[in-house]
Amino acid sequence: MNSPDTILAPKRITAKNMTEKEFFYGHKACAGCGGSVAVRLALKVTGERTLAAFPAGCMAAVGFIYPQMAFQNNAIITTFPGVASMASGISVGAKALGLKDYKTVAFAGDGGTADIGLQALSGMIDRGDDLMYICYDNEAYMNTGIQKSGLTPYGTQTTTTPAGKNLPGTKTHKKNLFEIIAAHDIAYAATASIGYPQDYINKVNKAKQIKGPSFIHVYASCPTGWGTPTNTTIEIAKEVVDTGLFFLAEYENGEFKLNKNPKEFKSIKNHLSKQGRFKHLTDNDYDIITKQRDMKWERMRKFWTLP
């Protein structure tokens, strides 16, 4: 029997004691893929009895190439907008069959979560189905060839928002996806980055214990779409948190909690100029990005619980 204490504080999973089984192995993702780090680590935490659902997107395209099947656990491809509703169905179906000791996990990219799949995700949280939803955010529709999504930040060059004399690339700012999800009064929501793998593992482990919907927004870099060297995947995902362009936070019991509050931010210019998609940015664009970041942090520091 689990006492309430053990549910609140699950056994910590680290690299030393996590399962040595690989559940996402031999896939065809690009070298240095950040999304596959996110999927691989999450599956290692949730374990063999995970029922995973993937919408049309990179992880579905690289994992399920007939006759290859890179997943060692139960996994299915869903429609693009319907990953949350299909995973809901899987979760409810497993309950009806009387299965024990399983976890349903839906993995979707930023497009499949913040744009196309948003209404299904909203419905899933509303119904209170028992499943974990992980959004790996690579800031554009990468699988179809780098088109702008709702989570693409200002100034990004994508194939649908080219940069030139008149345009700085993407003109819109990143959606506040985490706050949108938290506004549903979800039991547990968190943001994480693959640059901080232990923090991400802890959050997945925590979400695993929740009976009901839980959501994790994980920042996952994409060397192909971002024009970065393959070996800097983790470095960039770590740096983005240190520059303040992404934040690590949790939402629980109706309260926002900031996990990391850097005293001083690292240079945005230094960080962005390493990426091909930001090569064209002018000083004016950097000012706009810095202003947007400072506004966001001012709000977060004012209203959220600080670490």
């Binding site: 690989e22 192995y25 070298a31 240095g32 893929c33 596959s36 099947m69 593992i201 983790i234 470095e235």
Partner: protein, 99 residues
């Protein structure tokens, strides 16, 4: 077994050889990813302190835990170099593949 291994796969010759419905065995691998590589990671067993950072951040899960140091599953390593970049002791070096 911790990792699936490459299995012999005979291409279907008749329609009846194809699976009925869109399902397939989990962990069925029909070929390797080693051919993608230009540089391969080589672990210096002396320098490795077994901190397992590379194990956590490998996108392909090709770092194998060992008693005193890690090693690499070369069949599925794509040579992205993330492990070498993240290693705090510089125990992993990327060496040009020769074949």
């Amino acid at each position: 077994m911790n990792r699936p291994v490459k299995q012999e796969y005979n291409r279907p010759t008749h329609i009846k050889d194809f699976p009925v419905g869109p399902q397939f065995d989990a962990g069925h691998l029909a070929d390797e990813n080693a051919g993608w590589r230009t540089f391969k990671p080589v672990v210096d067993a002396e320098k490795c302190i077994n901190c397992l950072i590379c194990y956590l951040v490998c996108p392909d899960g090709t770092i194998i835990k060992g008693e005193n140091h890690v090693s690499v599953a070369y069949d599925y390593c794509k040579g992205c170099g993330v492990c070498a970049n993240e290693c705090p002791k510089d125990a992993i070096s990327m060496v040009k593949e020769e074949r």
